[in-house]
Symmetry: C2
Subunit: 434 residues, 2 copies
C-alpha cells in the first residue's frame, strides 16, 4: 500500500532516484565532518537527520520512541523494538516527506540542518554486531563450487535438508567504502606438500544479501518459522571477501576461518521489510524429486511470499579503467530468487537448537549466483578457479582481484506499476598486502 500513495516527495532528488525514492526510506547511521554518529534516513541525495528531527519536535508517540531508541550511534535498541516501531516510524516519515506534507515548511525552515547532503556525510555500520552468521543458501553457487571439486555429485547430501551456515567474524564487518587490505596467510602451492606464507594470490568477492536481525530470542527458546518474519529488521548488500588459496589449505575439517575474517563489507543502509514488501514472491517450487522441508522449516505463508525478487549486480573497476575513464565492468547480474531457503527458514533453523539471536546480529545469505554465465557471484565461479581469465575493456585480464581493483555491489527491486527501489552501493577497493 505504501508504495501506491503517496508516490512523490518534496525532496526533489528523491523522485526517480534509483535507490532512495520516498518508497524506500532505509535507515542508517551517519556522521558529518567527524561529528558524533547518529541515525538518519536516505531520501534521494539527502539524509533526513532523525535525531535532529526528534529534537525539532517532528516525532512523537511510537515514532518518537523509535527515534529515541536510536541513541548512541547504533540501531540495535531500535531493532529490538520490533516491527511495530518500524512501521510507526515509516508512516510518520511518509507524512513528513511526501510531496503535499503540511510539515514541509517547518523542515525547510531549518535549512540543510535536517537534510544534509549524503555526499557530505560518512556512513557507519548501522548496528553493533554481536554475532555474524554466513549461510550458504545460494544453491546455484553451491552447485557451481561443488562441480569444481565433485563434477558428478556437486551438492552434498545435506544441502536440500539443512540451511547450511557457519559462524563468521563480527569484528571485521565494515561499511561500504572501507578499503580491503590484501591478507597474508598460509597457502599450499600446487604440487607441493609444504605450505608457504605470503600475500593471498587468489582474492575474490562473494555477492550476498545481508540480513539484520530485529528482536532476538531467549536462550533455549527457538523462533518458530511462522514467527520468524517478526525477528527480521531489514536487509543490505554484503561482500564476503574471500582468500581462495588460504581457504583451500585451512578449511578442513572445521570450515573457513582466516580466508574470510580479514574483512566483510556491507552496504550501510538498512532496507526494511516494509519497503521490500511489494517485491516478495512465492518461494520457487522445488525441482521434481526435491524433499519437502522438515516441519520446523515449513510454513504456508512463508512458502507463499517468503522469497524476494531483488536484482543483484557486481561491477569491477580497476586502476587502469579509472585512469582511462572506462565504465565499470559488470561481472555479475543475479537475483535473490536463487536462494534455496527463505530468510524465515534461516532464522528458524539458526534458533531451533535454542541458540540466542540478538538485535543487530547479521546474517549473510551465502553467494547468490544464477545458473548461467554472467550470473556467477564470485570469480571462483566465473574463471573456474582461475582457469578462464576474463578480459576487460582496458585490455587487462583477471583471474582473481589485483591491487587497486574495486568491487561495487548494487541491488534493485522493480515491479510493473511499482516505484523501483535500490540498496545503495557496497564498495571496497583492494590495497596491497603490508
Amino acid at each position: 500500500m505504501t508504495h501506491v500513495s503517496p508516490t512523490r516527495s518534496w525532496v526533489a532528488s528523491a523522485n526517480d532516484h534509483a535507490d532512495f525514492p520516498l518508497q524506500n526510506l532505509p535507515l542508517g547511521i551517519f556522521s558529518i565532518a567527524g561529528g558524533a554518529p547518529r541515525s538518519g534516513v536516505a531520501i534521494g541525495e539527502r539524509i533526513f537527520d532523525l535525531q535532529a528531527a526528534l529534537q525539532a519536535g517532528l516525532f512523537e508517540s511510537a515514532a518518537g520512541d523509535a527515534v529515541a531508541a536510536m541513541d548512541g550511534g547504533q540501531l540495535n535498541a531500535f531493532f529490538d523494538l520490533g516491527r511495530s516501531a518500524r512501521v510507526a516510524l515509516r508512516e510518520r516519515l511518509l507524512e513528513l516527506l511526501r510531496e503535499d506534507s503540511p510539515l514541509r515548511d517547518k523542515i525547510e525552515a531549518q535549512g540543510d540542518r535536517l537534510l544534509p547532503r549524503a555526499a557530505d556525510c560518512q556512513m557507519h555500520l548501522p548496528a553493533k554486531i554481536s554475532d555474524y552468521t554466513d549461510f550458504y543458501v545460494g544453491i546455484e553457487h553451491a552447485q557451481n563450487v561443488g562441480k569444481l571439486f565433485r563434477p558428478d555429485n556437486p551438492l552434498l547430501p545435506n544441502y536440500k535438508y539443512v540451511p547450511i551456515g557457519y559462524h563468521g567474524r563480527a569484528s571485521t564487518v565494515r561499511p561500504s567504502g572501507t578499503d580491503v587490505r590484501r591478507p597474508k596467510g598460509q597457502t599450499l602451492p600446487a604440487g607441493q606438500t609444504e605450505p608457504t606464507f605470503g600475500p593471498c594470490a587468489r582474492l575474490d568477492y562473494e555477492l550476498e544479501l545481508g540480513i539484520w536481525i530485529g528482536q532476538g530470542n531467549a536462550l533455549g527458546e527457538p523462533i518458530a518459522i511462522g514467527d520468524a518474519a517478526e525477528h527480521i529488521a531489514g536487509f543490505c548488500l554484503l561482500n564476503d571477501w574471500s582468500a581462495r588459496d588460504i581457504q583451500a589449505w585451512e578449511y578442513q575439517p572445521l570450515g573457513p576461518f582466516l580466508s574470510k575474517s580479514f574483512l566483510t563489507s556491507v552496504s550501510p543502509w538498512v532496507v526494511t521489510a516494509e519497503a521490500l514488501e511489494p517485491f516478495r514472491r512465492p518461494q520457487p517450487a522445488r525441482p521434481e524429486g526435491d524433499p519437502q522441508p522438515l516441519p520446523y522449516l515449513l510454513d504456508t505463508r512463508d512458502q507463499a511470499g517468503g522469497a524476494f525478487d531483488i536484482e543483484l549486480e557486481v561491477l569491477l573497476l580497476t586502476e587502469t579503467m579509472r585512469e582511462q575513464n572506462l565504465p565499470a565492468h559488470r561481472l555479475t547480474l543475479s537475483n535473490t530468487r536463487y536462494m534455496y531457503w527463505t530468510v524465515a527458514q534461516m532464522v528458524a533453523h539458526h534458533s531451533v537448537n535454542g541458540c540466542q539471536l540478538q538485535a543487530g546480529d547479521l546474517f549473510g545469505s551465502g553467494t547468490l549466483s544464477g545458473p548461467e554465465n554472467g550470473q556467477f557471484g564470485s570469480l571462483l565461479e566465473i574463471t573456474e578457479g582461475g582457469k578462464k581469465p576474463i578480459e576487460l575493456a582496458s585490455g587487462e585480464v583477471r583471474k582473481f582481484l589485483e591491487d587497486g581493483d574495486e568491487i561495487i555491489l548494487r541491488a534493485r527491486c522493480s515491479r510493473e506499476g511499482m516505484t523501483s527501489i535500490g540498496f545503495g552501493e557496497c564498495r571496497g577497493k583492494i590495497l596491497p598486502a603490508r
Copy 2:
C-alpha cells in the same frame, strides 16, 4: 616471584585453598541477591569486592585506574589496559591481602562488606564477548577423532602447519552453573538417507582451556608472535558442549554450527598470566619429522616458556549418583601440555590476515585429550562414538550424556616448592529437550 613471598593471607580460608590462595587472585564479575554485577577477586571462600574497595580508598594510581576501568559489570575496558594495569592491581592486592598487611584492620572494620562469602554471590560472565573462536590445538584429540573416521591417516595434512580454528557463537557463552537445555535438530539415522528432527541423542562435553584476549589490534595490523603474550588477559575452563549426531549431519562443508551453538560454558574466574607464570613450561619438542612452525609462528621465548602445565579434570554426576550420595565419576584427567600450539601462536595466527581482535574476545583451545585411556576429553573418544559404554558406580552406563547429568571441569597447577592454584569449577547440568 609473587609466588614465593608473601605466601599466606589474613583471609583464613585462602590458605591451603585448592583454587584461590593468595597466589592466584583471579578476577571476575559477581552480584549479590540480584544487585548490580561488579568486579571482584576470589580469595579463599570470599570475594574481595573491588569496586567497594575502591570507594573505601584502598586503591590509587595505576591499581585505582585498573579498578575504575571495571565499571559496568564487565572487565573489557580493564582487559584493554593491558599487562601493566593487571600487574599493578595484582601487586596492590598482594599488599592488601597478605598475612601481615597493615591495611587488614581497615578492611575488616567494614565487616563482610568488602569480603562477601562466595557462596552468597552469583557469578557472571567476566566480559562482554565480541567474538568467540574455537581452536583445535589438542593434537591427541585431533588424532583420536581422526582415527574414528580415517584409521590410517588420522591427522589432516594441514594440522602441523596451521593452528586450526573456527568462529564460534558468542551469544551463547554462559558462566558455570547455567543449565544446558538438550538441543533439538536434524540428524541422519544410521542406514537412512533422509534426516529426522528431534532431541539430540549424542550429547557430549569437550574439555578446553579458555583464553581471554586483552588489548586488541587494529584491523589490518597483525600481532607478531613476539608481542602476542601482551594481548592475553587470562584463562578459564571451557566446556564446548557438542551434539554429535547434529554435528555429523550438518558439518560439511562449512564446519560445526548448531551442534555447538546451543551453549558453551566457562568458569567465571579469569586466572591471570601472572598467576600462571610459575607453571609455564617449554613447548614440547615436536616429534621427529614434524615440521618447524613457519616464521610468523616461531619465537624463541615462546618456544622456551610458552606452554603450560595445568592438570585438567572432568567429573560426571548423574541424578542417581546424587540421590545415592555417590561421589562424582572422573571421566578425564588430562593436561594443557597436549596443546600442539601455544596460546601466543593462536593469537599470531588469528591476526596474521589482519583480523581485528578485541578486548574480551574469547578463545577455546579445542579439546585437550591425552593419548591414554582416562585422558580423553570427550565421550566421543572415551566410548569410541558410543561403541564402548562406560559403567558408573551407580550401576548406570553412559554412551553419551543423559538428562540430569552434570559435568564438572576443574584445573590445577602444581609445582615443587610452589603453592598450587586452581581455576574454580565449570559446571553444567543437562535439562530435557523442550
